[in-house]
């Protein structure tokens, strides 16, 4: 059949052509005793339905069928045939009169009607045949279709040889072909492999269906005798068509009889087979999923879901180990309270002990079993591990009298391995996402800090200013700023100079936000208030509204009056301000509590303000603890002493050089050690007698000190 490679549409056209020919032929010669005409009739019929079969085969081949729907289909077609055959005697006689008479002398109406009738049934037979073909190739392991094709070949021979019906002597030819066909039918029906792949429920319904369908086939076969009106018409229309119908009925009877027994033998193993199939597909689904599910909770839900499927259990949940406690999650078919009771029973002795492998527990002796909403009888617990570390347990429970057999246990075990890998994956991913998020956050914090700090140092006649800021990896919350306060100094220069240094508690983005707020507060306060004590008091009050209880800000605020040559300074919990004068370092450390530590009167009453008369070459050094607490590899602090010595040693140099020296020493000290905190260093140098500058510096005409860098 396959050798006939004809275009799809041409098959349909050829079929229609032959049907028309057949129709015309039937109008003129309905039936004949002439061998020649009879043969011609069979040839036309053969080709007409051959092309119909080929056409329908193409349509069929493009689709995928479920065996159960094929069975149902076959059953329905079979039932139609059965009804037609059974009621043909009464029904058809009503239309055509006594058929044996009519057939001898057919009128035109009978010819047309019987033509339509036969064509419809021929189409049904062809569809049945094609369904059988589908069955044969369903889940077929061998690609070869030799057996089937041979069988079909003999079907056709047996059918066509019915032209010899006119010669009783030659009936052996047809009989031989029929016998060979039957033998081939039996051979081809023995292996029905598709039965294994349907689930147990379908197998049971198939058992019933196959009995019914087999019976229908046998009844249809037995009824297709010459005494039956339906068959008479059929046979008279074309002997070979009738013969093909009978052979197909034989095929159907045999096939469904074999199917019945095959199904019967498959039933006991059906459950195990279903389970394996379920397991395989669940694991397959799960392994696909683990690469996609990122969220831990979602993953846990999936784990218990699939655990239920693979283990045939009634309930499942996960016990997850957190720092000190056990957390239950992803409950499936079980209430939280039930799960809690059972969990505490399981771990009453072996609390969190790493049992290493799966273990089962019967709940029969569980004294609180009556308190459970559902009567669970057994639980199986399997550890979930990542990197050989116990992370939690997967628990599955069964109700009623069921226990966990070896099959269940091995399924759970296999699955828990998969689940562990999945959990580890999600954990690693979460970690790397978290890390990335933190880094992004720190980038933002650093950017905020960079924008908050002054872009450049101010320049004054009487004061040299140099500032250095080195951010730590985790933004430390250091802040410093300069404010020029108007006054009546010559050349329109500021009359007063305010400065602040502050350190916000905490790190990262939260510290950066507080820092921004602190900047806003001091920027506006410095314009209206001159007294450092008042500014800090006011700032503390404002910060009350926005600071968390555990956050605070250490700050030192100072004002230099250029006219009076006085520095006034107040300190709210910050490192002391250093005054380097004549080779000595003095700690300026007026009393004061950090901003945000106390919002009562205590803050204000304890806050002191110090005034210092500035002298030529005085160094005023502001810093944060990032300098004194800079660590070396031995985790030793850089310390105040070292810091002060460097300042004394280089106090003769200009401010930029001094700060360079300090930073250089800190860098040398900490070497490869990480910088834990921001480093801020602001150095101010009082230069009143410009004309008498030591170190032989030539003063610039306008008295400005030349700035380096």
């Amino acid at each position: 059949m396959r050798t006939l490679k004809i275009e799809h549409n041409i098959k349909l056209q050829l079929f229609l052509l032959f049907v028309v020919i057949l129709f015309v032929y039937k109008i003129f010669f309905y039936s004949s005793d002439s061998f020649l005409l009879n043969t011609l009739n069979e040839i036309i019929v053969f080709f007409a339905f051959l092309f119909l079969a080929l056409y329908a085969n193409d349509v069929f081949a493009s689709k995928k069928f479920n065996p159960m729907s094929l069975v149902m289909n076959l059953g329905i077609l079979n039932a139609i045939l059965f009804l037609a055959i059974t009621f043909s005697d009464s029904f058809l006689t009503l239309i055509f009169g006594k058929v044996s008479d009519t057939l001898k002398n057919p009128n035109i109406i009978f010819s047309v009607l019987s033509f339509v009738y036969v064509t419809i049934f021929a189409a049904i037979i062809i569809q049945m045949f094609l369904i059988f073909k589908e069955f044969y190739f369903l889940n077929q392991k061998r690609s070869s279709s030799v057996y089937f094709n041979t069988m079909v070949f003999f079907f056709l021979l047996a059918s066509v040889s019915s032209v010899f019906n006119l010669f009783p002597d030659l009936s052996y030819i047809k009989n031989t072909f029929v016998i060979i066909s039957v033998i081939l039918i039996v051979i081809n029906s023995i292996r029905i492999s598709w039965i294994a792949f349907i689930v147990k429920k379908e197998k049971i319904s198939l058992l019933l269906l196959s009995v019914i369908i087999c019976t229908l086939f046998i009844v249809n076969l037995v009824n297709s005798t010459d005494t039956n009106t339906h068959h008479r018409i059929f046979n008279e229309f074309s002997g070979s068509l009738g013969a093909f119908f009978r052979i197909l009925m034989i095929y159907g009877s045999v096939y469904f009889a074999v199917l019945f027994f095959t199904t019967l033998f498959h039933i006991p193993t059906a459950e195990a087979f279903d389970r394996k199939a379920q397991e395989v597909s669940s694991l397959q689904y799960f392994s696909k999923l683990i690469t996609r599910v990122l969220d831990f909770d979602e993953l846990a839900e999936t784990v218990t879901d699939i655990a239920l499927k693979v283990s045939n259990a009634d309930a499942a949940w996960i016990i997850w180990k957190e720092e000190k406690t056990l957390r239950q999650l992803a409950h499936k078919n079980i209430g939280y309270l039930d799960a809690e009771l059972i969990t505490s029973y399981i771990f009453r002795e072996k609390f969190l002990k790493d049992t290493g492998t799966l273990f089962t527990e019967s709940l029969r002796k569980f004294e609180k079993r009556s308190q459970l909403n559902e009567q669970y009888s057994a639980v199986a617990i399997t550890p979930l591990k990542t990197h050989n570390q116990l992370r939690g347990f997967l628990v599955v429970a069964k109700k009623g009298d069921f226990i966990f057999d070896d099959e269940d246990k091995s399924a759970i075990n296999t699955f828990s391995d998969y689940a562990s890998v999945a959990i580890e994956n999600s954990r690693l991913l979460e970690e790397s996402i978290e890390k990335e998020r933190l880094e992004k956050e720190l980038d933002v914090a650093r950017e905020i800090q960079r924008k908050i700090l002054p872009a450049k140092d101010p320049v004054f006649d009487k004061l040299a200013v140099s500032s250095v800021f080195i951010p730590a990896f985790e933004v430390g919350g250091d802040y410093y700023d300069f404010f020029e306060i108007e006054g009546n100094m010559p050349g329109g220069q500021a009359g007063k100079f305010g400065f602040i240094i502050a350190d916000v508690s905490g790190k990262g983005i939260s510290a950066a936000f507080i820092m921004a707020e602190v900047k806003g507060i001091f920027e506006s306060l410095s314009k209206t208030i001159e007294s450092p004590k008042e500014i800090l008091t006011k700032a503390n009050q404002i910060l009350k509204r926005s600071l968390d209880r555990k956050n605070f800000v250490s700050a030192a605020y100072g004002v230099i009056d250029f006219e009076k040559e006085i520095l006034s300074i107040a300190r709210a919990g910050h490192c002391p301000v250093l005054l380097v004068r004549e080779g000595k370092v003095e700690n300026i450390r007026p009393m004061g509590i950090g901003l945000g530590l106390n919002y009562g009167t205590q803050f204000q009453t304890s806050l002191e303000e110090t005034e210092i008369d500035l002298k030529e070459n005085d160094l005023i050094v502001l810093y944060t603890d990032g300098i004194t607490e800079a660590k070396n590899l031995e985790m030793e602090d850089f310390g105040e002493k070292k810091f002060e010595n460097i300042l004394i040693k280089h106090s003769g140099k200009n401010v930029d050089e001094i700060s360079n020296e300090v930073i250089k020493e800190i860098t040398l000290f900490s070497k490869q050690g990480t910088q834990h905190d921001d480093i801020t260093l602001v150095i101010l140098k009082w230069k009143h007698k410009i004309k008498n500058v030591s170190l032989g510096e030539v003063p610039s005409p306008d008295g400005m000190e030349k700035k380096n860098g």
Binding site: E474, S505, R549, N551, G596, L597, N598, D637
Partner: protein
């Protein structure tokens, strides 16, 4: 990172919290949960022993601030004891001695609690 641990013991109705190691932004949550547990357990008389504390950062200091209000509302207190010079200096700079009672020894702090109790009665 630097290590940090705490332990708590109960002595004549006073909870003594021992700090060990480095208290910074990363380890502060541990001490925070210690305080939360004490408070939820109705224990408001707390002495913190700094004997084995090597370092405290601003985030570490913040922990004390976070709970002090609640504790004092409940007629309790956090008293700090046995600080080494370096740690004391950090507290001192920020003005903590004005806000907290700081004692040389653990016993002094406990004694103070007991005395206040007697006075209260």
């Amino acid at each position: 990172m630097a290590e940090f641990s705490t332990s708590i013991k109960d002595q004549s109705g006073v909870s003594v919290v021992y700090l060990n190691g480095y208290l910074d932004a990363h380890t502060a949550p541990m001490l925070e949960s210690n305080f939360s547990e004490l408070i939820s357990g109705g224990k408001f008389k707390i002495v913190v022993n700094f004997k084995d504390l090597v370092y405290i950062s601003s985030a570490g200091l913040g922990v004390f601030m976070a709970f002090i209000e609640k504790i004092r509302e409940n007629e309790g207190d956090i008293k700090l004891t046995t600080m080494n010079d370096k740690v004391y200096n950090i507290f001192d700079l920020l003005g903590f001695p004005l806000l907290y009672e700081i004692y040389k020894t653990e016993d002094d702090a406990i004694k103070k609690f007991v005395e206040t109790d007697k006075l209260g009665k």
